[in-house]
């Protein structure tokens, strides 16, 4: 124990022999550690916030439907005949943070054009409380509850069929009893999704109007959409099917995963670059002290002692740097949890369009505890690797001298 303490003291003193050099090394390693922690937190929180922003506008975190509502092979194919009701839910705890919807493909006719849309009947008051659909209305007003035959159109759709607030449009589709559904509806509001494709493909009406349009019983509907951001994983249900947004919007999920994985790769590259630089410095430092090592040998210090002292020196340097780096990372992450980062910084101020709608996410950081041990481990691993070459060279030289 005393020998170890001596070794520790010796290594610590060696570390501070060239103060400025050690300080620069510590600073670069701390900067790297802090940045990687910040970067990983940014990637995780960024994906989460972007998705939260996107999903809370309209899509929701998961949908509960009839097991055969969505096609098993393609989630963009669905059957309007497969309906559900509240009675199908054994556990109704998800009701407060979810809303029911009736959906159907329909054709909307203006004076010159007929265009296909996804017509969604919504529980107006519940949707107003759970998502941001209402805030996307830039002209006119939101839907008023009841079977009032009102419709909200996307801006592009309205432009293409030349409909305005107050216009009447003809809506044609297939009802669940097999007959042709048709209805005249009044345009009461225009939705602005920032120019995304959804503006062209979506229309909303009251759930009561949609049920009547599709000849459905008032208690029946197609989807129960959850906006519970905390319990965002779909529950396991026996008689119904719960589908995550990741399966419903695979193109978005894949894009987000790509960015997440890319961030990890960048972090690993950074650690490699750092360790290469450190290895360089260690090599120079160790060679510089060869005379000193020889003197130590003559005085009776074993090669093991010298090697151990070098390991300890690197370990001490790594530990000081990692601790400072963790503090750096923590401070930076905490600041960003109070002052969120606007993702538009990366697009030169342009809004981000995702899944057909514009999103303006402010990335508020939620520090992930696992990064505070994963990153240091990664740093230690690469530090050890960076020691291998200098040590081999040192041992070789000693053999040659001997």
């Amino acid at each position: 124990m005393r020998a170890f303490l001596f070794l520790l003291k010796y290594s610590y003193r060696n570390l501070w022999r060239s103060k400025s050099r050690s300080l620069i090394l510590i600073f670069s390693l701390s900067f790297g550690t802090g940045f990687i922690i910040w970067d990983l937190n940014f990637a995780t929180s960024g994906s989460r916030e972007v998705m939260k922003e996107f999903l809370s506008q309209y899509a929701g975190f998961y949908q509960v439907t009839h097991p055969d509502y969505y096609s098993k092979t393609a989630k963009n194919v669905f059957s309007i005949y497969k309906t559900i009701s509240d009675d199908d839910f054994k556990d109704q705890t998800l009701f407060p943070l979810s809303t029911k919807r009736v959906t159907s493909l329909a054709f909307i006719s203006g004076e010159k054009k007929t265009l296909g849309v996804l017509l969604t009947g919504i529980d107006t008051e519940k949707e107003e409380r759970l998502n941001k659909l209402k805030s996307s209305i830039t002209e006119g007003r939101y839907l008023v509850r009841g079977e009032r035959k009102e419709i909200l159109l996307g801006k592009k759709l309205a432009m293409r069929i030349e409909a305005k607030v107050g216009s009447t449009v003809a809506v044609v589709g297939s009802s669940v009893d097999g007959s042709v559904a048709n209805e005249l509806m009044e345009v009461v509001g225009i939705l602005d999704f920032g120019g995304g494709d959804l503006e062209e493909g979506l229309a909303f009406t009251q759930i009561e109007t949609a049920q009547s349009f599709l000849a459905m019983a008032p208690e029946r509907y197609h989807q129960r959409v959850s906006f519970d951001a905390i319990n965002d994983e779909p529950p396991v249900l026996t008689n119904l099917s719960a589908t995550s947004w990741k399966k419903l919007l695979p193109e978005i999920a894949v894009s987000v995963r790509f960015i997440d994985n890319f961030t990890w790769i960048v972090s690993i590259i950074m650690v490699m670059v750092l360790s290469l630089g450190l290895s360089n410095t260690f090599t120079i430092t160790f060679f510089e002290r060869e005379k000193e090592f020889k003197s130590l040998n003559i005085l009776g210090a074993s090669s093991r002692f010298i090697t151990m002292s070098l390991f300890l020196e690197v370990f001490l340097l790594g530990t000081i740097s990692v601790v400072i780096g963790i503090v750096f990372g923590f401070i930076a992450t905490t600041i960003c949890s109070f002052y969120p980062i606007n993702i538009e910084l990366f697009t030169g101020g342009k809004p981000i369009l995702m899944g057909g709608m514009v999103i303006r996410p402010l990335v508020k950081f939620y520090p992930e505890s696992q990064y505070y041990w994963q990153v240091p481990l990664m740093i230690y691993f690469f530090l050890l690797l960076s020691l291998v070459y200098p040590l081999i060279r040192l041992i070789q030289r000693r053999k040659n001298v001997a």
Partner: protein
Amino acid sequence: MDKLKYLWHFSLKSLKRHWGRSLFISLSVSLAVIIAVWVAAFFDGLNTQVEESVVNTNIGYYQVQTPSYFQTTDSTEPLIWTKEIEEELKKLGAISYSPELVLDSNLTTPEGSATLIALGVLPEYHQKMLSLKIQGEFVSQSDEKDVVIGAELAKIFKFHLGDEFVLNYQDQKGELRSELLRIKGIYQYGGSLFEKKYIYLHQKTWKSIFLSEPSQDELFNRIVVMTPSLKEEKTWRKSFQALKLRTWKDLNPEMAVVLDFHDGMINFFFVIIGVTILMTILTPVRMLWEERVSELKMMKIIGLSKKDFWKLGMVESFLMMSAALVVSSLSLAFILGIQSKTGIDFRFLNDGVSVERAGIKLPGIIFPQLYLKHLVQTFCFVFFVLGGSYAWSLYKTHQKIEGER
């Protein structure tokens, strides 16, 4: 001249004195540059392919549109496709172009409904622009009521060659109409959304089903134009003031933002990797100079001026930069030269799935692109890292010499 020559020799010898260390510093910088520039080249390749995936649909780099189509996608007022317009397009450097008529229509069968865009094309122009893989035949002048549909649409509605289906639409007068069309060909191209949405008719067929009065002219609602890039956008905008011009970025803003986002990420990555490598290189360079303090002090006594000291440092730094530049440029040219031919399958990042965004199927295999700008980036990076490290080290060493005097 002799003095400079002497400085060169001296610097070279100083570097050779600790050749391992010099090599290591150069290699560290080179490796960081190679990684950083490779990532930039990868994303440039990705961006180029994303751009190509978007423009090689029915979008093109530019679309010249009629004013009414530009405003509301109203097809009822097509214009005549003239030789003058064609000449203008050629003059502006268009590679290929296709005058098209566009009809929003739909299809309803027991299998379901679909929204379709029926494009009235002139095959002699369209086929030069887009090479569709077709089962059966493409539309032709001899067509009666023939149509070419996408494989995805055929799959969903169980259509085969020779089958007929009813196309619903509103004609030029706004009247609801239905027309029976025969499937002449089934194409495979792009993503599933593309194949589901677009159907092709010969302009003759399109005019016969949509226009109220027959027309012998070749018409267009839009002209889809392929060019090498969007570089000449200003010139194009000036040339088409009566007609309206849209770029692919206007037509598919979601994908345009993806490219901007990638560029932003790369710039951020460059800055961070630059700062990190600067920090790690700074120490060895500083050590390199610090251990020569006594030697430099002696040189100072025998007449080394401040100016010569800096010259000496700069020449040494130039030699190091040259070594790092040569190594990194050659390595990058070699690596990217191979990868730009073989490509990199990056679907492993997405569990083997190809990304499909905004109706566009993005490439699964990326071919990194080596541009001249990458060499400029390499130079700037090396200059920033090694130049910065040397400048700081020289400054500190000089201070030390002055202080010790």
